[in-house]
Symmetry: C2
């Protein structure tokens, strides 16, 4: 398998290391900074250096565009223009809706690995960076099933959990679990700095340290992340303002019942959020008979992703005449496998446990 | 030294263990729940059980009232009525202004150790719970210097850093570094639970887990904490709303410059907050000549607390005729000691390094 990595920082470099070490892939890298290419080569994160993104994409089976958010759209378009017809092109940007909206190419599948937020730079790249990490994929209705399967296999092969999700849902999820917590962290440090003005030193307890660990984090990338997801984030901030007003009014009115209900609801929400998705178990094979039309694999992946069902592996077997095919899906846990049968059936696709 | 602990949960039990083990104190405990008293006795957290708070306070040199916030005011008044004239009475409640406002008794000094938030119950009590922990004290103008010194010595003796602070400042600090982070955590889980509605499972990254670790925490005590500090908290929520509106508008207007400035300011605030107060160094002795009048020790302690200067130990030596005395203060670090000389001098009190 020939893989190209465009942008060889922490994520691109880790993709290169993992694909070479675990799947024996040939990895060609390109980065606009020549010294970064050299360092990536020296560390074995890539096996060869290309002179441009287009050159890297040439002859690749998969291209990962791991450029910064601000340079992402242009890099993807360059790669799509240069790559062959049988090449999966993905990216690792932290927001997806705008990126997807402009690109209906059947070869392009948006991606976002949830890993590596703490550091940056190819010098921190590791082959095991993605072990167990959710790797969101945002296939569209035009996405090629064969290319989706190839990308899915490669990601599962390097230890990640590829999970299909609608691009707008993805951005809302990320705004909720990442971007809004960052906004809150920034607000908290600003408030505390004012409350502790002058010579006061805060007695920062663990809750404050935990809540503000990411305040002002990675100043070179976060403004871009906020701005790239500003629509979802503005909506969430508006909602947060509403919730804060409710709490504020309950406090101002010394409404103990309201405060107790609000606090208890938070406990239940937290338990539900953190308790979810921790199932394991043996792996079961499902076989679905699918019409060989664009988008059917994306439909299945999205339905299972929405239900938090982890597709451990998948394989497509098109019929010879191209009219019909079989998607084999491996799902962890009998309950999950049974739920998957129900969900795929509900799409009108014949499916059964193998 | 005879010490009484009224309320022997995690904090009261740990005070008892530490005072016995480190200072050889005799500790009598009382708790309205008889089985809690028995458990505290069995674990050696207290050496004897009293039949009431008043009985526990009788003959004590120091009484720590470690009752829940909702029962605190009544328990303190019971203890003050029963304790002798030469007894320091303190508490461990997490808000102070209301509590102090109603009690001008020279024996009462509000207290708040920043420790033990994670668990509760005497079964988790530990002698080392307060090692290195800030222990806020809120002396008033009428506070007895001798009783303040006694309390300070006992707390430093069990490993804490007693730090004097104005009661209203204390409540604003706690609202900033603890209560508002808890409010934000609750809002974040509520938002995420809605954004991830239905069957979606969140891909909760470290920033979300960190930011929401305390969401819905300790449902039996937090509503009381919020309500007891509602004035400071409402003010802070209003300010936070203002900050959120600024960010929201900058995002809605795609104002990159404003977002970058805001994010950079947060980085600076965080660095300033977390970098402060970490000085160490050798211990220096200061001697201040003080008129033997109420409040002078509180004035000194507050001035140094405000400047984040850690009083490692202190001793009062009243003149025989009661007209004049000396306060010896041990301060860590030469720079801090020199700053302390300046601050105490500024109060009109003659002071010098010994």
């Amino acid at each position: 398998m020939n893989v190209a990595v465009v942008g060889v920082g922490l994520i691109g470099g880790s993709i290169g290391l993992a694909l070479q070490q675990r799947l024996g892939a040939s990895v060609t890298g390109y980065d606009p900074a020549a010294e970064v290419c050299e360092e990536a080569l020296r560390r074995g994160a890539i096996g060869a250096v290309a002179a441009s993104a287009a050159e890297a994409a040439h002859d690749a089976d998969i291209v990962f565009v791991a450029a910064p958010v601000s340079a992402l759209a242009e890099a993807i378009d360059t790669v799509l223009a240069a790559a062959g017809g049988d090449c999966a092109v993905s990216d690792v940007g932290s927001t997806k809706r705008e990126l997807i909206a402009g690109r209906s190419d059947e070869r392009f599948i948006g991606g976002h690995p949830l890993a590596g937020a703490e550091t940056s730079g190819v010098e921190h790249a590791r082959a095991d960076l993605f072990d167990g990490a959710t790797w969101y994929l945002t296939p569209g209705p035009g996405t090629s099933g064969a290319l989706y399967q190839r990308l899915h296999k490669a990601l599962a092969g390097i230890g990640a959990k590829p999970t299909a999700i609608d691009a707008a849902d993805h951005d809302r999820v990320m705004a909720s679990v990442s971007h809004l917590p960052h906004v809150f962290a920034n607000v908290l440090v600003a408030q505390a700095a004012r409350a502790l003005s002058g010579e006061h030193v805060p007695a920062t307890g663990p809750s404050f340290r935990d809540a503000t660990r990411v305040a002002g984090a990675s100043a070179t990338i976060w403004p871009d992340i906020y701005l790239s997801n500003r629509e979802a984030l503005v909506t969430l901030i508006d909602e947060a303002q509403g919730r804060l007003s409710e709490v504020r009014d309950a406090l101002a009115g010394a409404d103990r019942g309201a405060i107790e209900r609000w606090h208890e609801a938070a406990r239940l929400d937290r338990d539900a959020l953190l308790g979810a998705g921790l199932a394991g178990g043996a792996v079961y094979e499902l076989r679905a008979a699918v019409a060989d039309r664009p988008g059917v694999v994306a439909e299945i992946a999205l339905a299972l992703g929405r239900a938090a069902i982890n597709i451990v592996d998948m394989a497509l077997s098109p019929a010879q005449d191209g009219s019909q095919g079989v998607v084999a899906l491996w799902i962890q846990g009998e309950d999950q496998a049974d739920r998957a049968v129900g969900l795929v059936s509900a799409l009108g696709i014949p499916v059964a446990r193998a």
